[in-house]
């Protein structure tokens, strides 16, 4: 029952994220989406996933919130009717997931531990991804530096 409630909350907050006009409110709704996803993972037994989701969510939201504050004007109050209608749309959209089913659980790698999966099965991926992230961050730093140099 609790998983169903969290899932409905997830769809509702996703709806609010997209349909609320002001960026700051949108980011606040995205906070709800991230927190509920982390809770869903934790309650399903995927504790590592929950911790990663939470940590990444906090970082992303802090930056997004600052950007939203910086780039948009002071947000007006949201009309109550609009908020209620968005919650109703979210609840309506979550109905298919409660009553329909398209898959059965696949336990192909059921005995694989997290450490084994990350460092033995996907070790190459981890290293390559580290390289990609490093390249992207260096690229952004150079890009911003060149831009600043061009302005001076």
């Amino acid at each position: 029952m609790i998983l169903e409630l969290i899932s409905i909350g997830l769809v509702i907050s996703a709806c609010l994220t997209i349909f609320l006009d002001e960026a700051v409110y949108s980011v606040l709704a995205l906070t709800g989406t991230f927190l509920l996803t982390a809770l869903l993972y934790a309650l399903s037994g995927a504790l590592f996933a929950a911790i990663f989701q939470f940590a990444m969510g906090v970082g992303t939201l802090a930056i997004l919130f600052l950007s939203g504050e910086m780039l948009s004007k002071k947000p007006p109050k949201i009309p109550k009717e609009r908020l209620l209608s968005l919650v109703a749309v979210g609840a309506l959209l979550s109905l298919p997931m409660l009553f329909l089913s398209v898959s059965s659980p696949m336990n192909v790698f059921s005995d694989v531990q997290f450490e084994e999966a990350l460092w033995r099965l996907r070790a190459g991926d981890v290293l390559l991804q580290g390289l990609v992230v490093l390249t992207v961050s260096v690229g952004i730093a150079i890009f911003l530096h060149e831009k600043k140099k061009g302005e001076e």
């Binding site: 993972y41 997004l64 950007s67 398209v102 991804q129």
Partner: protein, 104 residues
Amino acid sequence: MDFVILSIVMLVIGIYGLLTKRDLLKVFVSVELIATAATLNFVMLTSAGNGLGQAFLVLAFATDTAVGALVLALLLIAYKKYGTSDIGEIMRIEQDKKEGEREV
């Protein structure tokens, strides 16, 4: 209760936002929603406690964060250059600029 359908619903909401919203920050938020829908699938399809799904989730997060940093850098540069984060407005300014150059 089916997590695949939950993931599909979130994906559809994210794609709708990506196609209809003109603000760059909202576009980025839509991309975040799509990424959340994808990672939800990774964990739930391999049965939640399984290590492989969680390992894929960690890898997906790394890419997601890198993409996020790139989009935010572009957003800040666009805002500094054009004074707005609206895609339509930016396109209009660029078009006006081009027409002005052609007239000269």
